[in-house]
């Protein structure tokens, strides 16, 4: 019985488990320090003017209004392309298409496409959207060089292709998580496929689809590499806006054929290519803080949505 009282000492275990704790702690501290640095440096410049104003004095003064506008405009159009296409094709793949070798290959390809480097999508955007589609539109419409050059539309389209796998995969996951028994119940009552999808599947999958959509927006808003040569501009005096007039009524619309400023690109260009990077450092930190705040906000929303989604499903 003496042996039982003696506490067994697993020295190796104590060392390793505490090492794991230590590594994790180091990680957390580094992240908090860096985040703290951004918050401290960035909040100094943060103000309403900073968020809404244009850059002034060769980018050393003023704000990032046009870059924020550009980010919203590009991701908005991206969502218009990617979400309907992604959600609808996921519905087709999950609800209508039979499970065959072919559909399995497609699923695998979509999964892997999500891991293809974003810069490669940029190449695709340049070669396909601008030089192929854009130039051909110009030839057909005889507009001169209008579509065949870097522009907001093509940046959005390229980002849409980039986030398409994200939208499809998360929609598939959401649809898949709707229990088969609920579909059976619906079919058993004589519902058609569409009725079942509309009344049973989609209401339950909606939070999951929304989560994927928000994650896609956040991904698109944070991407820089693919839009480097698709129309992101260092500085533009005017917003990419055009007045759309019907008779006397004019509403300002995003002009998809123009170049645009982009928050993520703005940070990159100020940090690496402006004539005086140290002078613009406060603006760099300010822009970074805004971008991080934006993506965190989106991602937290997505996480909360998914949390709710899983809780609902867990209750079933």
């Amino acid at each position: 019985m003496e042996q039982l009282k003696q506490k067994h000492k697993d020295v190796q275990g104590i060392i390793f488990i505490n090492l794991i704790r230590l590594l994790f702690l180091v990680l957390v501290i580094i992240l908090l320090l860096l985040l703290g640095k951004i918050v401290v440096e960035g909040s100094g410049i943060l103000s309403l003017e900073f968020v809404f104003d244009s850059p002034r004095n060769n980018m050393t003064k003023g704000g990032i209004g046009p870059a924020i506008f550009g980010t919203i405009a590009v991701t908005f159009i991206m969502i218009l392309f990617a979400v309907p296409l992604g959600v609808f094709s996921a519905i087709y793949l999950n609800e209508y298409a039979k499970d065959t070798f072919f559909t399995r290959v497609i699923r695998t390809s979509i999964n892997n496409l999500a891991g293809v480097p974003s810069i490669v999508f940029g190449l695709f955007g340049l070669g396909f959207f601008i030089l192929f589609i854009g130039r051909n539109i110009d030839d057909v419409l005889e507009t001169g060089l209008l579509f065949g050059q870097p522009a907001l539309l093509w940046a959005s389209a390229t980002l849409a292709v980039l986030v398409l796998p994200i939208v499809i995969v998360s929609t598939l996951e959401a649809l898949n998580s709707v229990p088969k028994t609920h579909r059976d119940a619906s079919y058993g009552l004589g519902a058609t496929k569409w009725q079942t999808i509309k009344h049973v599947v989609l209401p339950q999958a909606r939070p999951g689809i929304l989560t994927g959509t928000i994650l896609a927006i956040s991904r698109g808003a944070g991407e820089t590499a693919p839009i480097l040569f698709l129309g992101a501009a260092f500085f533009l005096p005017n917003l990419p806006v055009v007045d759309l007039c019907i008779g006397d009524y004019c509403i300002p619309m995003i002009n998809p054929t123009e170049q645009f400023m982009y928050l993520a690109y703005h940070i990159f260009i100020l940090a690496t290519q402006s004539s005086n990077p140290t002078k613009t450092l406060p603006i760099q930190y300010g822009s970074t803080l805004v971008l991080i705040a934006l993506t965190f906000l989106l991602n937290i929303t997505a996480i909360l949505f998914r949390y709710r989604f899983r809780k609902i499903l867990g209750r079933l």
Binding site: T181, A185, Y187, G188, L189, G190, T192
Partner: protein
């Protein structure tokens, strides 16, 4: 002589390469309870799903043979599966209520038939709940989540939901297997009352249950229909040795 509701002739079913039903022929009488018994995996559920073509939803299923309901082959090209399933209610092993309110669950079948009239919906809800002996328990909470009900109540609500579209046939796949004895008794009582109006086919692996509720019993083994007869005959004086072994619990 009984009126035959469903008659199945030489029916085979394959899941991919695997044959799950072998040359099944059976005639199921109208307004009676017919029970399918047999060991797990012998094809009872599969055969039940043959009767309302739920197997159509599973990829790689191949079938051969015919299923006549009132003389009409439901696997005929002229037949509409959706319309067919509207005429045949189905109750599953585990309650599969939608995560909606009690009321919404009840009227789902009507809603998909395009019925929007609030009065009709309300009346049907009340009528079917009463039929399912559930009205007294839930009449004051119709608009609460269906999943807040107890397990037995949920299953009876599933039955009520199936009855709301006024089917002629009700298929039940082990409807009481996940329930406590008290709830089971209630469901059995319910089945007994329903047979005055509906043709009922019930799958069960509980032999006492089959003996209690059914008029006819079919014994399945390894995808084959071994014996089919009056329930009293199957349980007291079966013809086949396998049936006898199974019903006396000397199986395996």
């Amino acid at each position: 002589m009984k009126e035959v509701k469903i008659s199945v002739n030489n029916f085979d079913l394959y899941y991919g390469e695997k044959q799950a039903l072998k040359n099944i022929s059976i005639e199921i009488p109208a307004k009676k309870v017919t029970a399918f018994i047999g060991p797990s995996g012998c094809g009872k559920s599969t055969f039940l799903r043959v009767l309302n073509r739920m197997n159509d939803l599973i990829d790689h299923v191949k079938i051969q043979g015919e299923v006549l309901i009132e003389g009409v082959n439901i696997y005929d090209k002229q037949i509409d599966v959706v319309n067919l399933r509207k005429r045949i209610g189905m109750v599953f092993q585990k309650s599969n209520l939608f995560p909606k309110t009690i009321y919404e669950n009840l009227i789902y079948g009507l809603k998909i038939n395009g019925i929007r009239d609030k009065k009709v919906l309300d009346e049907t809800a009340e009528k079917t709940l009463k039929q399912a002996a559930l009205w007294n328990e839930v009449y004051d909470r119709l608009h609460e989540p269906a999943l807040s009900l107890s397990g037995g109540q949920q299953q009876r609500l599933c039955i009520a939901r199936a009855l709301a579209v006024e089917p002629e046939i009700v298929l039940m796949d082990e409807p009481a297997s996940a329930l406590d004895p008290l709830s089971t008794a209630k469901i059995e009582e319910l089945i007994h009352e329903l047979k005055t109006k509906y043709t009922i086919v019930i799958v069960t692996h509980n032999m006492q249950q089959a003996a209690r509720v059914s008029d006819q019993t079919a014994f399945f083994y390894l995808g084959e229909l071994i014996e089919y007869d009056k329930t009293s005959k199957i349980f007291t004086n079966p013809t086949k040795k396998q049936t006898e072994d199974y019903v006396t619990g000397r199986f395996g």
